[in-house]
Subunit: 347 residues, 2 copies
């Protein structure tokens, strides 16, 4: 409580950051007296420091029992399967940019469901960066601040071919894979190329039910990933399914294209490969797959640390297919939601 004194000697009035040096507080500190001020705050006099702190009743209520009130916690994720093919959540660009409560609704969808489409966006190159700015600045990677998903003559990623792509998460070879991925559809005339999305949280739950031993292995044993081209050589090893402190799934890394040889004692490699096959089979379960064909002017956004994405092969001789993509941080998305909630009631 002493550390949370809000007086101007303890907290800077402009920055709102703490300026109190915690080691300046005597270690034999005690609340010598407590009273209620005329404004209804709890006033504590700390001794031997002789420091006076006021605590508002809202703050005290939110921190009672030492635990934040429930409204400060993120709601549980809303998982989904094939039914999303017919009911892709989304919003209109005009509404989201013109009305803060629609923007807030759309950001909450992205936080809780992990996927949403924005319709009627400007079909201009680099719009994706302006659309990202609804959340925050783009996060640059070895593929640049933004990237063009087109069939290229000298591709450095399978994404830049016309090949089908198995459902995967992007950049699992990074210690810190990007959080949210934006894909802005500029052209989609080619035959094929439909998008496929799978909720990795639901897939992990299905694996846990069907093959608990495989699930356990994938939560415990790291898999090696590596991407290399002329400019980069980016490697990281991490478990396929990462759990939080409560044992809930918090992150999925799954990408055969950039999986490296597994670095582990030889006797562990067979079971780990079989567990990965089991998860790959679950990820291809039709009841989990959402199929969606992006139309020009649509922006698809999804949580890249939860949602796996893929695509059917396309035939570049039948027309152009051009998506522009970038990444943004979850920290920024959650911050935008909280700032918008200052004006709007929480859910």
């Amino acid at each position: 409580m002493r550390d949370n004194c809000g007086c101007t000697r303890c907290r800077h009035p402009a920055t709102l950051e703490r300026i109190l040096d915690p080691l300046s507080v005597p270690s034999d500190l005690d609340a010598a007296s407590a009273s209620i001020t005329d404004a209804g705050a709890l006033q504590v006099v700390w001794q031997p420091e002789d420091h006076v702190s006021d605590y508002e009743s809202d703050w005290l209520r939110a921190h009672r029992g030492g635990t934040h009130a429930r409204s400060q916690r993120d709601p549980a994720p809303v998982t989904w399967g094939a039914e999303l093919s017919e009911a892709m959540p989304g919003a209109d660009h005009e509404a989201v940019t013109g009305d803060d409560s629609t923007l807030l609704h759309w950001l909450r969808l992205l936080r809780d469901t992990g996927v949403a489409v924005l319709r009627g966006t400007p079909r201009e190159p680099l719009s994706v960066l302006a659309l990202a700015a609804l959340i925050g600045p783009a996060r640059a990677t070895n593929f640049g601040e933004h990237f063009d998903v087109v069939s290229k003559p000298e591709p450095n990623s399978n994404a830049y071919t016309a090949l089908g792509l198995l459902c995967h998460t992007d950049l699992p070879n990074w210690e810190r894979p990007p959080d949210y991925q934006l894909l802005h559809c500029l052209e989609n005339e080619a035959k094929g190329g439909d998008s496929i999305l799978v909720d990795g949280f639901r897939a992990a739950a299905a694996l846990r039910r069907r093959e608990p031993a495989a699930y356990r292995l994938l939560t415990q044993r790291p898999i090696d990933f590596r991407f290399q081209d002329r400019e980069s050589d980016i490697r990281f090893r991490a478990p396929t399914i990462a759990l939080d402190e409560t044992g809930a799934v918090k992150e999925v890394r799954f990408n055969f294209a950039v999986m490296d040889a597994i670095s582990a004692p030889a006797e562990r490699i067979g079971p780990l490969c079989r567990a990965l096959r089991a998860f790959a089979a679950v990820v291809r379960d039709p009841t989990l797959e959402c199929h969606y064909r992006l139309s020009p002017g649509e922006l698809l956004i999804f949580d890249n640390r939860r949602v796996l994405h893929g695509r059917a092969a396309f035939d570049p001789s039948t027309g152009r297919r051009h998506l522009q993509g970038c990444y943004v941080d979850r920290d920024q998305l959650l911050s935008r939601i909280r700032v918008l909630e200052r004006q709007a009631p929480p859910q």
Copy 2:
């Protein structure tokens, strides 16, 4: 081994990424025959698939026993204390930009020691972004792609005042705090304002030795952090000291200025506050503190997830003090080292 076949049907010849669908491989796969080719590769014929894979001897050696050869692993960190005040590691800007082996040496310093200075940099605004590009693109945060550390009229962070700053890591209130911080000194005429650096890995080891119970608590119990201003409200909770799978310290988050009220059952808060005080005392141990006064034209870079930084108060009436800063990713730094090592022998 089957997954690591390098033939053009399994791995795309241009992208070098896997195109093999692992589920297309029969689960009763076996190596029906193995022989040595004229070029010295191991050739395996897989059945019932009837697929032929060649494995180079270098690859086999590097992966023998299922474990990567040691040279692919990062070396252990080199920890330091007050002696660095007189021996700050660094390099000259001209040498680093003109000679790849000097650049490689400097990047390895940053990786292993976690801190280095670059001398003789251009004293022009925004040079810091060009200097970051020696490693990779800047990582934007709520403070922008770059930020100016000066005493401002309406500061939204204590960094933008003339106050002294206790040693801390930046942005512990983010799920993903920035990896490396760059601070480019443009002006430093004011009285005071010397920089202080502490190796968080050494500080954690000292805490473990002196107060093992406090160390254990700080590795286990999350601390709540929060930054808020008009544009942002960014919160995260994480342990002060994070350990990797082997139990070694991999990350330190320590910042009283943006510490929020701790969210925990009431009976845990006292012990946690005492453990934080114990760590704060260790961090202020003079044998751990490196003092360094930045000169105009110097760029200080340090690992923000390991090295704590602070500064003495300065008197803005005695002269200007202006640093420009930004952040870059460790993934990019390690990648630069590996690409440079293609031409140079490993350490």
